[in-house]
């Protein structure tokens, strides 16, 4: 994300200028030690730590939008880096005996940095809670970024399997029913061909938002594959699951989706099905769900043929 990096250019320049001024101050006041007197162990330890902190700063700035949390974390890490940098300079530049300011430069920023980092992490924690609230119905108590779907703001099939594994155990332990509903868009391939794949992607994104609106707080929506969405419905029996599935189908059919290019109405409809977990593992349950969907689609195919 080079764009994010650009946002933080001033911050980085400031840090580099400060580090440079410290270097120049040292060179002006003291004399470089000959390499024979260098303590390589200390240089590697202190210089290496400084470098690692610099890497943290880079990752932080690359990955985060600007804002209070980013600024606090950046300032904290910068103080840490500065302290370690001065520490490293001490190893290669000898200052006249009795110099005190370098000790201040070395030890001063460290506690300030830790305080700033603590503040930053506290607000980061608050931010995470806020984001988690926004992720409601899209993740449940477990986050794994590698399982995020690349297209829609949902998780994919692997995350669903993981969640399903846990939910099945929990349902069994609590003797509560657990159901799955599946929503499959009709004629999605033709839509892609007619309106372009970009439009198809937008339809999937829109439909995923629409489905989220129609779910309860405890439900989890994932994109299984292609134009198939699966909802995990805890504490839900088969009848209720079927009701929810039909409501989701009705919501898709009622959506007045308009294409991005010309704004014409793209009619959408979906086939839905639901199954309740019996003595299933995640794979067999998903397989039964898929069969139920195939049965639900049969009349549709017969009608078209």
């Amino acid at each position: 994300m080079p764009a994010l990096f650009k946002l933080h250019r001033l911050k980085l320049i400031g840090l580099l200028v400060a580090a440079n001024i410290a270097l120049l101050l040292h060179l002006a006041a003291g004399d470089p030690l000959p390499p024979t007197q260098w303590s390589w162990m200390d240089i590697a330890g202190e210089g290496g730590s400084a470098l690692l902190v610099l890497v943290w700063i880079g990752l932080l700035l690359r990955g985060r939008p600007a804002g209070q949390v980013t600024t606090l974390l950046f300032l904290g890490l910068s103080c840490l880096f500065f302290s370690l940098w001065i520490d490293t300079l001490d190893e290669v530049i000898e200052l006249p005996v009795g110099t005190r300011w370098d000790k201040w430069l070395e030890s001063g920023p460290m506690p300030v940095g830790f305080v700033l980092m603590t503040l930053g992490i506290y607000h980061w924690h608050r931010e995470q809670l806020a984001i988690s609230a926004q992720m409601e119905k899209r993740e449940r108590l477990f986050r794994e970024y590698t399982l995020f779907d690349s297209l829609t703001p949902l998780c994919g099939a692997d995350y669903l399997r993981l969640q399903l594994q846990q939910a099945l155990q929990q349902a069994r332990a609590e003797q509560q029913p657990l159901s799955l509903a599946i929503v499959d868009l009709d004629g999605f391939a033709a839509l892609n061909r007619t309106f372009g794949h970009g439009e198809g992607d937008r339809v999937l994104q829109t439909v995923s938002q629409l489905l989220l609106l129609n779910l309860r707080r405890q439900d989890l929506l994932c994109r299984l594959a292609g134009d198939r969405f699966v909802v995990l419905l805890p504490q839900t029996g088969e009848r209720q699951a079927r009701e929810i599935a039909h409501e989701l189908g009705a919501a898709v059919a009622a959506l007045a989706y308009r294409s991005a290019e010309h704004g014409e109405r793209v009619p959408l409809s979906a086939s839905v099905a639901a199954v309740m977990a019996m003595q299933d593992d995640p794979d067999s349950l998903l397989e039964r769900l898929n069969l139920a969907l195939a049965r639900a689609k049969q009349p549709l195919r017969a009608q078209r043929a």
Binding site: S150, L151, G156, A157, D158, D184, A189, A190, N192, R193, H197, G198, D201, L224, A225, G226, D227, R228, L286, N290, L291, A294, R301, R304, A305
Partner: protein, 344 residues
Amino acid sequence: MTAGWYEGDTRFIPGHYQPGVLIDLALGRGLDSHRVLRGTGLFHDDFPSGTVRLSPQQFLQLIANAWPLLGRDETAFLYGQRLLPGHYGAASQALAQAAHLQEALEVLVEQQALLSPLLKPRVQMDEGQVQLAWLDACGCGEVQRFVLEASMAAVASACHWLAGERLPWRFEFRHARPRHIEQYWAHLSDALRFDCPRDRMLLPREWLHRPWPKGSATAARVARQEARRQLDTLGMEASLLGRLHDHLEALIREPLNLERVAAAFGLSPATLKRRLQKHGTHFQALLDQARLQVALDLYESRGYTNDEVAAYLRFNDTTNFRRSFKRWAGASPSALRHVLGLVS
């Protein structure tokens, strides 16, 4: 027979054909073109000119780059659905105007170099069904699964589009049931079988001649002639491996060895051996593959017994044949016939 085929390093695949489809998919998902083209020696800025030509090896490298970046599970299917009929000149037009499935399959086989340069489609028909098997044309190596998933999705999706309805293809794969089975459900069909002796798609024969609404007989004929002329200009219509496969299958009942086949292709045995090595294969593997295809067809279409197949393939005794068959297919004939539902 001196030329007329392409090899792994023949630069003939137009950059804006299949590679362009994959690059567009990657760019559409926000990927950097440099990362996708790394190691191919190509630059994205050259593509719009329409003069860039890739060798199968470069194309395979492109796939190997893009596959993990785009996600290993779904990408092949998304890419495959965009492949056919495609925008590959007259070959694509001939496909888009096909009057029915049989004509479309004929075009696919005839224009394989342009429509499916990496996998060779092999079509067989008997009284009951049509089968479209896919054979490695260029040594696809580690991206074989990607290319296979994409090719099957391409044909299934194009048939769906051109026929105006979903054709009830059944799918068989040599690989084991994958973890991401849901992609196969959503993009191919529920009728899937794994651990099979070949990678193929099957359809009841009655679908062969159902008229396709988008078809146009005259336009299709003209486009097909034009496409043939284009192939002639290109000077190659199949890969070396594909050509060899056809040659071996045609002469499967004759005594076959490296020397004779090399001579038929106008090459020295050493040269042929080296070229096969370049594609990650060897003569015996190709011969085994051809024999396996023929043997399976005999079992399935003609209901031959082990003795009959062994005799057809000029094996002296059935035990010997069964041992060889197990080496080609990874399972004994009886086990395979059980899998195929041909138990007598």
